[in-house]
Each structure stands twice: as C-alpha cells, then as structure tokens.
Symmetry: C2
Subunit: 473 residues, 2 copies
C-alpha cells in the first residue's frame, strides 16, 4: 500500500540524492480532490487537415472553463473559439515559456485521410511537448479506423495508436497520453470521455485508445437523461461486488461520491467490513457468496423492486500456481468466481429487466488477462474471458442502451500487492510510464467514467488502468 521509494525521492533530501545518483524520480501524481478545482490552466490545440471535432472541443473548453491557445496547425481554432465566446490566443513556439506551462495538449486528427498527411502531428507535439507541465494531459482525437471509408484513411487513423503510445512513453513527469476515436455522428457524445482524460481522475490511465460510437438508430440519443456534472450518478443505483474492502470499497466510495446509491455485495465472512463500508456511504449491504448456485436469483430478488442502473463485477480471487502444481479446485474456483458467476448474475439481471435500459455493466479484467502471466493460467483465463464477455455482449445490449466495458488494472497498490516479494514488486511498480503503481481510486475513477450517463457511446471496450505498463501482448 506504500511506495516508500516514491515518497523518499520526493522528499527534499531524497530528491537531491536521486539527482546526484541519476536514479529515476517518479512524479507524485495529481489526483482528483473534491476540494480542488478539477480543471484549470492553459490548453493548447493542434489539428491536422480539415479537423471535424473542433466544435466539440470548443463546447468542452467552454464547459470546463479553461483558457486555450491555438498552435499554428489549428488556425481555425481562433475564429471558432471567438464565436463560442472563449478567451483564446496563439501558441508561440519561439517563446513557449512566456505563456507558462501548459496543462493539456489536444490534437484533432479526425480529418487525416492518408499517411502523407500525418506531419502536423509531429509539428504540434514537436513545438508544444516541452511546454506541457507535470501531470499534464495529451489527447489525440481521430476516427475509428474500422469505420473509415478507404483503406488509406483507415491506415492513417490506425497509425495514431503507435504515435500516441510512443508519446506517452516519452513524456514522463506524470503526463498521460490517450487516443479518442470519435465515430462520425458521435460528436455530441464526447464530453464525458474528454473530461475524464483531461481530469486528474485519469491519473493512472495512459497509452489507451478509446472509441466513442454514435447512437444506433434503434436507440434515441436524446433518451440520455439530464444530469449534473457535479453529481452525474444522482438517482442511480449501483451494485458493486467484492465491495467490503480494497479496490471494491474504493469503487463503492467513488460511485457514492458521484451521487449513486451503492448496493455492496460481499461474501458472508466479510459481512462486518461490508456493513462498515456501506454505512459510511449510506449504501446497502448484501452478504452473498456470488459463486453459490442460488446467488443470481437471490441477488435479482433483492434488487427487483427498485431495479439497478450500474453493475460492477469487481469480486475476484487469485490462486497462483504453475499448472503442473495447480489443483483442480484452484483452477475451478478462480474460473467460477472471476468469470462464470458474472455471466450467471448478468443473465439473471438482464432476463428479468432488473438492470434498466440505459444501464452500465463494468467488468474487471487484468493485464494478466491481456498478456498472460506466469503462475496464473487460471486467473489469466478468467480475465481473458471477461474481455470476451464484454466484446460479445456489447452488440446484444446496444438496442437497450446498456453499455458493457471492463477495466484492466496493472500494478495497483493493495494489500494483495503488498505481499509480493520486494524485487518483483519493485519491477511491477517501475515498469510503466509513471514509474509507480496505481492506487485503488484510479481503478474506481475509471469505472465511474464508464458508469457515467454521458458515456453512452463507450461500449465493448477494455481500458487499462496501468500507467501505460510495458507489459502487454
């Protein structure tokens, strides 16, 4: 739970020592605090040819109340910003220091249709990256490659992934770099996602590519209920499994802070901790063993009267052994609790209509589920299955306006990781672009974004919460 190296090198003496020895100095990440402004500072805008998303960006900039400057590549921004009544200026590469450090770099690449048009990406970040302050934010916006009209356009848009991921690895200093692919017609669905990636809430989310889909003809986008950005989950009911402690308790706490009524589920042996956690949040505690055959019906019965809007499948276990030493029971229990139980519970809630239209299902996968891991054949199988669950269910749920996504945590500082031997723990902590482990709240905030009523365009996706871990597949 405690990264003593991070604390040490950020003390006055430790910082001097690290500097003189050439040791890495991970940045103390800025995280969201309710008593501090979420957004602020100067945002620089860049663009490729014929950008399609500047209007959406102007709406965002007006909504979060930041000041913008336009890079030479985004000449269109100044008149547009003026029309939106925004204060704006020009970014001067010759004298970048004069404007102070930038808080964020936004690049609209949506109009790039050919690999020969990629140059403005270089121009913009070449000029601006050094002016981006600590814990700054980089967002590249494009069009989903698979929905592009021509192979040339698809190719150029797909190239943005390699660019954004490289930038995340270069930037360091707690800076995140993410890519948001906005489908044509989804321009009015981007704000919740862009707010998340600009906010300190996404402190440990970097190197990700996220897609925002347009409303399907079957659903009406206007059906998105009105919400308050300060309490977006007000009036919503959220189930969180494994909510007694650790990451689950953090998820429950963040969802409650966003206004949700949380129904925490955990095993009967964790009842006291669950009760204590739920009491603090004015939530509801339900002690069930989710792996029990009768659990889906029991959970459905308990939720039936008022229904539920958000289901977070956080409960999970590990029983690590190499496969030659892994018992059948260790295999089966991990698969059952981490994967099959979620399938049974979702099916029960969906069949009975207890999960309401416009609802949210959020699974918890893992970097191990993406890349595999030594000694975790059972766990990685279950967590890869969660990815399959998300990808297979998303199209089925679309007509009801229900989204399904998963987070895939990397190295998160918990009681579980505190038990890992020091050398392996240190490797896990440092092998990412933040040079540190994440906190449970980083996972929780990512889930809150996926649960947001404004995230209707985000479905079928796996978002890593890993500080851009080197590890992948």
């Amino acid at each position: 739970m405690n990264d003593s190296y991070l604390n040490f090198v950020n003390s006055p003496f430790g910082a001097r020592l690290a500097r003189s020895l050439g040791l890495p100095k991970p940045e103390v990440l800025r995280r969201y605090r309710a008593d501090q402004p979420e957004f602020g500072g100067l945002v620089a805008l860049g663009a490729g040819r014929e950008p399609h998303l500047l209007d959406a960006l102007a709406t965002l900039v007006a909504s979060i109340g930041v000041t913008s400057v336009a890079h030479a590549s985004a000449g269109l921004w100044v008149p547009l910003a003026n029309r939106h009544g925004l204060m704006t200026g020009r970014f001067e590469p010759a004298d970048p220091g004069s404007q102070g450090k930038l808080a964020a770099l936004l690049f609209d690449a949506s109009g790039i249709e050919d690999s020969t048009q990629l140059e403005p990406l270089h121009g913009f970040f070449h000029d601006t990256l050094r002016s981006l302050g600590k814990c700054g934010r980089i967002i590249v916006l494009g069009r989903p490659p698979e929905s592009c009209a021509t192979p040339r356009q698809w190719t150029a848009q797909r190239a943005l992934e390699g660019f954004t991921r490289s930038l995340g690895k270069e930037a360091r200093r707690g800076i995140t770099a993410n890519l948001v692919y906005v489908e044509q017609g989804a321009e009015n669905r981007v704000e919740a996602t862009l707010r998340f990636f600009l906010s300190p809430r996404s402190a440990y989310v970097s190197g990700q590519a996220v897609r925002i889909a347009a409303a399907s003809s079957a659903t009406s986008d206007d059906a998105t209920p009105a919400f308050d950005w300060r309490q977006p989950l007000a009036g919503r009911r959220a189930v969180v499994t494994g909510a007694a402690r650790g990451i689950g308790a953090s998820i429950a706490s963040v969802l409650a802070a966003e206004g949700a009524h949380v129904i925490g589920i955990d095993i009967p042996t964790a009842r006291d901790a669950l009760d204590a956690t739920m009491r603090q949040l004015n939530g509801t505690a339900l002690a069930f063993d989710i792996a029990a055959p009768e659990a889906p019906a029991q959970i459905a019965a308990a939720l039936d009267e008022q229904g539920v809007d958000i289901v977070v499948h956080n409960a999970g276990i590990t029983k690590d052994k190499t496969i030659a030493k892994m018992t059948d029971a260790a295999w089966q229990s991990v698969i059952d609790i981490n994967l099959s139980a979620q399938e049974r519970i979702d099916d029960a809630l969906l069949a009975a209509g207890i999960l309401r239209d416009g609802g949210r299902i959020i699974g918890v996968s893992s970097i191990s589920g993406i890349a595999g891991n030594l000694g975790q054949t059972n766990y990685a199988t279950s967590k890869a299955g969660v990815i399959g669950r998300v990808q297979s269910m998303a199209p089925h749920l679309r007509a009801r306006g229900i989204t399904i996504n998963a987070v895939a945590p990397g190295f998160i500082e918990t009681q579980m990781t505190a038990k890992i031997p020091l050398a392996i723990r240190e490797a896990g902590r440092r092998m990412n672009s933040m040079s540190q482990g994440g906190q449970p709240v980083d996972v929780a905030q990512t889930i809150a974004w996926l649960a947001h009523p404004g995230s209707a365009g985000v479905s079928g996706q796996i978002v890593r919460v890993c500080g851009q871990s080197l590890i992948g597949a």
Copy 2:
C-alpha cells in the same frame, strides 16, 4: 549479432557457473535445418468436450509422420487415429517418464461453449506439461470468438488467449505456446499453419493467436494450386524490398529455399550487396529507391511481364529522437519509406493486376508499432500504420484470394541491434519467454509461412516474432 551470454551459459563451465549463481539459462533454440528432419517425436493430444478438429489433426499427424498419444481428455482420439491408420497409445499421467519426453502438446478446445467447460485445459496441461521436452511445442485450437453463435461461447473461446499466453510464460526451456482459431468450414485449411507452429521454423514465435478463415463464397477453395510440402513456393515469384542485407536478405534466402524466384529490391547505393545476395539465390536484383515518386511505376514495369505472387515490404528505416528534438525531415522520411511507399507500390501492383490472384502481401510491423516506444514516434506511427494497412486491405483483397498480413518483430539480433548500448540490449534480449533475442531467419520463416499457398485462410493478421516479449499494449 552475437549473444555472448547465451553462448557462455550453454558452455560446460558457464552452465555450472550459472547454476551455482542462480542466473537465467536461456535455451539454445532448435531451428529448422534442411539436413535434419523437421518433425519427430511423440505428440500428446488433449481435448475439451465435443472437439471438432480431431479429424484435421489426424490428417496432420499422418502427413508429418509423428507418433501420438491420447490424454484421458481426448478419448475419441484412439479410435479416430486407428481409422486413419496411425500408431497411437494413451498418455499415462501416473508414469509420464515411461514414454520419454514429448515433442508437442495439442489441445482441441473447439467444442467448448461455456466458461464452465474449460476444466479439461487444466487437466491436460497439468498432466502433460512437465513431460514436454526442450523446444517443445504447444498448440491450443479453438473457434474464432467473434464468429461464435452465443456470448457464452465467445467468452469461453476468448478466454483461451489468456490461458495460452500464460502457458507460454510458464513453460520456458525454448517451448512455444500458440493459439490457432479455426473458423467453422476452415478445417481443411489448417495444415500449413499447424505445421509451422509445430516446426523448428517457429522457434521464436510464441504467445500468438492466429485465425484461419473459411473460403468465402466468392473464392473457390479448390483453386488453391497443388504444391509440394518440400518446395511449396516452386513456380512462385516473390518481391522482397530491402533485400540487400540483414533481415531482408534472410527473407530472400528462405523464400528461395522454398522454391520461389526472388526479385530483390534495394536502394541504388546498396547495389553491390544486393547483386551479391541475389546471385547466390539465382534471383533478380532491382536497384530502386522505393521512396522516389516514380518507383511504383518503375517497379510495376519491371514486374509486368511475368507478374508476381508474393510481395514482402521489408524495407524500413529508423531515425530515433524524442519528438522535441526530431526534425521534420526525420519524421517525414520514416513515415514515407516505412508506410506511404508501401501503399503506393501495392496500389500500383494491384491496379495493374501484376500481383496475381491468390497472391500474398506481407508487411513488416514492429513491437514498437503495437506498444509505442520512447524516441520512436515516427517509427511507431509508421509501423502502427502497417497494421492499419493489413486490417483495412484484407477484406478488399479477399475476393481475389490475395491475403495480406504482417509480422511484428521484437528484439532481433542484427547489425542495428548490435549498436544498442549494452544494458538496454541485454534488457531487450531477456524480457521475453525465450530469454534471448531472435535471429533474422525467425522473421524470414514466419514470412515464408504467410507466403505459403496453404495459408489461404490467414489474412488481416499481425503475427509477432518476439519470443513472447513482455512488451505490448
């Protein structure tokens, strides 16, 4: 080009020292040699419920002439093998040593339709993994998740990825583990792919998931021309760019050994090396700068008369710098040579019908293109673009029976990597399941498999040649 640590720890003295100090001892990988049998030893078969691919596996086992043993999970294998006239026996977990070391483990998971049915994976590999010899092979076979009939089946099939990747990380000792997803109706298209993954040709390919698609109604599968497994590319003409030296020369050499007539292209300044390489292979040397505007037309003209069957876009450059220090010229030249030039050349060859129906296009991407890399915004952008090129063109080319794929090399021992500073080079070499860098021939053999007439079902895919590098996204 020379991994002195690998050589040292595999010397008698070095092996003793490594053992006493607890140092890692990477295995000397067994690679394909024309003067040694490609296949041999005992293959163990396992299966989940209602396996659909045992017939295809029996054809393979008969074709490559190995002996099989059936694990208890694959009871159906014994009568089936007998019907095919194969020698077979039963794997006895109580006394695995009695049968000698196994050369390969094959598991047919194609009938698994629900996460509750995954247990036989554990049972089979639990019993057999320790009996698998050095440089052994693991292949798990399943159905492509996205073509499954139900979300439950999709989920269970997707879970196989986490399993196979974990197994690859556990197995060590030069063992590879790969997953082959066989679409329904593609059972007759699996042999070239399964041969590759069983062969020493795939020494450095592990942790990959490959899909084999059925013939589309537009193409007739019977159109696959007859070929000889010993000279599968006989009568085919293959263009290789950047063929003068390094990986390109190795690609040219392997394709020629498989029977192809190779047309090597390289820049005019490399003409002497190109001529020398092509002379050895009885190939044709063409000195062109592929980035020149007139190159596509010139290459098309040079190939027009006889046409071409295989195009390998191997030519590529790096110009590494952090983006703030990267010149516009360094950005542009890398994008142009590594990506845009390929687009122009393919378009010219396709438009004029010079690339014949049933042809093969093979690009070279990179782990950097998948995961991004520090100091390589230009290179990673170009290599991510190659992925987009493959994914976007595959559906367009399907009706003509042309496949397009890419390899993504990890750390390959070349003159380029020999210049990397020692500490970084050592990290790159060891951070994969083989604990060593790959050889140019490993990339070349993977390309030869994709170029194979029997690989008609493999298109739109990116295959890493990285020894299952830890690095990914």
